[in-house]
């Protein structure tokens, strides 16, 4: 199996007498290298995408600093403690979502922010972590695979925050939170029969979903199915990003030389559509390099999940790795026209702060799962 080779030895004896410095700092070297490489790549592209504005790069660098700080801090927390915190964090998150609906700030036409005086905080971000933690906590209480009632309980625990987030309305985050919960359930051993049943129900529910969507969400789906129908409205993003990527060819137009990006045909080029700038300037070669980097990080995370010493760690790590993958897939899929336009950034590359901190917090937990392992007893 492909993953097998990426797995470190299950043998706990990496010489426990002399734990390495990284082990003592609770850092996972392969993951750390992958993340640093990804961030360096992202900053280089951002410099071009924001018209060589060093100010943007500096601000992004500061956010990255903060995000790595959060990762490092969380890596120090042992999964045992994390597990005991899970229900509490989940509860606080859901309460804050309710608060946002009642008193939240309206930013860009959607209610997402909670103004805490000093900082503005987006509680839905917290749920991207809290949901997999909660599911892991629930499943780990009994031997895996979970029984049907347990699965149903988990489903309710996932859907409550998701519906609250969808009301804000924030489709992108709702999808990511569903993905986080579902991924945790899947890794935890959700039975194949149930998976088929859920898929069938989802297909049947699709029309219902359609009638519950907001106008702009419906518009996006329609536009996705036929971008040319609205070339100046929401189809504009998709058409322009495909022109950017397609005109890049195999080796691209060269760094800083993308005409689509620099002549301002491409909107949101340093945020959600930065993938198109990569395609235009660095070509297929540059994009594949980026995808390989993502693949490496995802596989390493899955390896940590498979290798964790208890069910909580396994389910949590699996859920977190899959959220990261969903980020990558939804964003790239949107930019190249495979998926409708939803506001999901390209993880650790797009300009912006909130999701970056959440993602790195997730990697902090992954590192904690890997480095706080007790000796596995067989």
């Amino acid at each position: 199996m492909a993953i097998r080779s990426a797995l470190p030895s299950l043998d706990p004896g990496d010489d426990p007498a002399a734990p390495s410095l990284l082990r003592r700092l609770h850092l996972d070297l392969p993951l750390l290298i992958g993340l640093l490489a990804l961030c360096a790549f992202g900053l280089m592209v951002l410099y071009s995408a924001s018209n060589q504005d060093l100010g943007n790069v500096k601000r992004q660098l500061m956010r990255l600093g903060l995000a790595f700080g959060v990762m490092f801090a969380l890596a120090q927390v042992s999964p045992v403690r994390l597990r005991s915190w899970s229900p509490f964090i989940y509860g606080v998150g859901v309460l804050m979502l309710v608060a946002v609906l009642l008193v939240g700030d309206v930013g860009k036409g959607a209610q997402r922010w909670l103004d805490l005086g000093l900082i503005r905080f987006q509680p839905s971000e917290l749920l991207k972590l809290a949901v997999p933690m909660m599911v892991a906590w629930l499943l780990a209480a009994r031997p895996l695979p979970p029984s049907l009632p347990r699965v149903l309980t988990a489903a309710v625990l996932i859907l409550v925050p998701v519906l609250l987030i969808a009301r804000q309305p924030d489709l992108g985050t709702a999808i990511l939170v569903v993905a986080a919960g579902a991924a945790a359930l899947f890794i935890g051993g959700l039975s194949w029969r149930l998976i088929l049943a859920i898929a069938a129900v989802a297909a049947a529910m699709a029309p219902l979903l359609w009638y519950n969507m907001w106008d702009y969400q419906r518009q996006r789906v329609l536009t996705f199915l036929d971008p040319e129908s609205d070339p100046l409205g929401s189809g504009y993003h998709i058409i322009q990003s495909q022109i950017a990527i397609g005109s890049g060819g195999v080796f691209g137009k060269g760094w800083l030389n993308g005409t689509q990006s620099h002549l301002e045909f491409l909107p949101e080029r340093h945020t959600d559509f930065i993938f198109a700038v990569i395609g235009e300037e660095l070509g297929l070669a540059g994009i594949l390099a980026l995808l390989v980097l993502y693949l490496f990080i995802i596989f390493r995370s899955l390896a940590i999940a498979a290798n964790a010493s208890d069910s909580y760690g396994r389910v949590l790590a699996g859920g977190l790795s899959l959220v990261f993958f969903v980020y990558v897939f939804v964003n790239t899929g949107m930019v190249i026209g495979l998926l409708p336009v939803v506001g999901v950034p390209l993880p650790l590359v797009s300009y912006g702060g909130t999701s970056m901190v959440t993602l790195m917090a997730g990697f902090g937990m992954l590192m904690a799962v890997q480095t706080h392992r007790k000796a596995v007893q067989f």
Binding site: N56, L144, L232, G246, G249, T259, F265, I287, R314, F329
Partner: protein
């Protein structure tokens, strides 16, 4: 056995997770393969098709900058306007032969050496793919001439934009500041996407302090362009949110009167309405023409301003830090009353000097022969140094500096004029930190008469005077009163911070205000020459030492260079019964406050309160 079955469970669990992780891995690979396949289709199979589309791209999104809010004075006089202007811009990235293009352009539109120098400078600082202005302020004929031949000049455009204009020029330069082109330094502190179409930003004064209100928010429009990027028509978009207009407390007529009152002197005048904290006039002389800075001032002109010995670019009103001299005595007197160190009825004896116990050094009073026996009121009226040496010594520096800080000395007032400095009230802690030296008792005495390291801005003096006139209600001074969405009737007042200064017995205010009234209205007052029948004034003169006189020397103005002369200071408020204006005046190297600075304050108060312009006759004051 139980133990075995739990072990068996664990094995099964682990196996389950490994299998599931494997399945996920395969799914991830499949999904990314799908993405890669799609990319190959776009970037390899359809590459030709998209390259053509990219070359002929016709619709793009442009940022539409908001119009900057206008600024009006208290009576609705326009102080900052936006005027339409045409400029000729070159997008360097789109031009193949730059020198040739400029040469050909000069043939139809005059371009001089200044224009070329500015173009070179702005070209170096430019943001890629953004136009760099070659000529500004094109005449309509020049615009027409270029339009005829524009097809010969790809990458060259005439751009119409609104340029900031300050109709009152030098009169408002320091208080309003000015706008200038956004540079890389500005880029670091703004939301660049909100400034996508904006080229100017507030660089000082009110323009910088209220940048957020004045700027507004960017809009977008989709435009159809031809292959050269020239706009053919506008399709749709979201309009910008215009910046808010500002209505000031500042009265431009009073500003003018204060400027004229200073004459040819260097100095500053700050006038505040004690009831609102509103700044009625904020003058720093000499000044400069802010309109020169909007489009970038030519280097030689800039150097002439920058290196002039009169420092016209320096805003003395909010950045000039001077020892407050004797003008601080009413506040020190209040400190003494509030802390119980002095009693207004009890006199001290002034032999012309003060000595600390056990020290030979004589701290001199400005009057060599001494004032004899003086109580608080006469100590303020005659500005007796010895009285305040004694008071400061008994009070101690910690209590004294704490009280002075309550009046706003020693820290920025927070006025909405960018660049304000905070002055300095010396303290033990400050001296430890700044000079790594212990505090000497003699320094406390010097603080008591407002000299030495003690520094205050004219604005701080005016704010403290207004607080005194208000009997302890400190209102943060501000220039802007309210903001308004252009064209809408709704006016939003800007908030003011206030706090109360406590002095224990409210009679202490009366005692100090009575003393300050005697300074002007009394027969022996140091500012009696500015008496008027129209209203009663409370004031205090001061001088601020530029040159330190040695222990055995005397200050001899005739022997010193003019720039070493003392600065003349005066603070005042009027009418005493119902204060409507508080003024602080500093005249650099003006000599005695009573003779030079007080008449300036009188003219400002006359202009505001409508009193007589004639100075009351009287003997010149006895210095201070």
């Amino acid at each position: 056995m139980l133990r075995d079955s739990s072990l068996e469970d664990r094995r099964r669990e682990h196996h389950l997770v490994v299998v599931r992780a494997g399945v996920v891995g395969v799914l991830v690979l499949l999904a990314l393969a799908l993405v890669a396949a799609r990319l190959v289709r776009l970037q390899v199979d359809q590459h030709e098709h998209f390259s053509v589309l990219s070359r002929d791209n016709r619709v793009k999104v442009q940022a539409v900058p908001p119009s900057r809010g206008l600024i009006y004075d208290a009576k609705g006089v326009l102080l900052a306007d936006n005027l339409p202007s045409f400029s000729l811009e070159i997008t360097v990235e789109k031009v193949e032969d730059l020198d040739g293009t400029i040469a050909a352009l000069s043939a139809i539109i005059p371009v001089d050496a200044n224009d070329l120098a500015r173009f070179e400078r702005l070209k170096r600082q430019r943001v890629r793919f953004q136009g760099v202005p070659l000529r500004l302020n094109l005449t309509p004929e020049e615009v027409a001439r270029f339009s005829l031949d524009s097809h010969l000049f790809p990458g060259v455009d005439v751009r119409a934009e609104l340029i900031r204009s300050y109709p009152r020029g030098a009169l408002t330069a320091h208080v309003l500041g000015y706008v200038g082109r956004i540079n890389t330094e500005d880029m670091a502190r703004i939301d660049t996407s909100d400034y996508a179409g904006t080229h100017f930003i507030g660089k000082g004064g009110v323009e910088k302090a209220h940048e957020e209100l004045l700027h507004g928010h960017v809009g977008h429009q989709q435009v159809e362009v031809n292959a050269r990027g020239r706009v053919l028509r506008t399709l749709e978009g979201k309009p910008p949110v215009p910046g808010r207009d500002l209505h000031l407390f500042l009265d431009i007529d009073l500003q003018q009167a204060a400027t004229e009152a200073l004459g040819d002197n260097r100095g500053a005048v700050v006038a505040i309405d004690p009831r609102t904290g509103g700044v009625l006039a904020l003058v720093s002389k000499p000044s400069f023409d802010p309109n020169l800075f909007v489009e970038g001032i030519p280097q030689p002109d800039y150097h002439a301003l920058l290196y002039s010995p009169d420092k016209p670019l320096f805003d003395r009103a909010v950045r000039g830090q001077y020892p407050p001299g004797s003008t601080v005595k009413p506040f020190v007197g209040l400190a003494g009353l509030a802390s119980g160190v002095v009693d207004a009825r009890k006199a001290k004896y002034c032999p012309g000097f003060f000595q600390l116990p056990g020290q030979a050094h004589r701290y001199r009073c400005w009057r060599r022969g001494g004032h004899g026996s003086v109580a608080l009121e006469q100590a303020v009226v005659q500005s007796c140094d010895v009285y305040f040496y004694d008071l400061a010594h008994s009070m101690g520096i910690e209590r004294l500096q704490g009280f002075l800080r309550e009046f706003g000395f020693g820290s920025r007032t927070g006025i909405d004029v960018a660049g304000e400095l905070g002055g300095l009230v010396p303290s033990r802690e400050w001296k430890e930190r700044a000079r790594n030296q212990p505090w000497y008792p003699g320094e406390t005495l010097i603080v008591g008469i407002g000299q030495g390291a003690f520094l205050s801005t004219p604005l701080q003096l005016a704010a403290a005077t207004a607080t005194l006139a208000n009997r302890g209600r400190f209102i943060q001074p501000r220039v802007a009163r309210a903001s308004q969405v252009p064209g809408s009737p709704e006016v939003q007042e800007l908030p003011a911070l206030t706090h109360a200064v406590e002095v224990g017995d409210p009679h202490h205010w009366d005692q100090v205000i009575r003393a300050m009234t005697e300074v002007v209205e009394g027969a022996r007052g140091t500012a009696k020459r500015i008496q008027t029948k129209a209203y009663r004034i409370a004031g205090k003169t001061g001088t601020s030492q530029v040159f330190t006189v040695g222990q055995k020397e005397t200050y001899n103005a005739a022997r010193l260079d003019k720039r070493m002369h003392d600065h003349a200071l005066f603070i005042a408020f009027a009418p005493v019964e119902d204060p409507r204006i508080a003024v602080a005046v500093i005249v650099e190297n003006g000599g005695h406050g009573g003779a030079v600075a007080a008449p300036v304050a009188r003219q400002v108060m006359d202009a505001h309160l409508g009193g007589s312009r004639l100075l009351a006759r009287g003997e010149p004051g006895d210095g201070d």
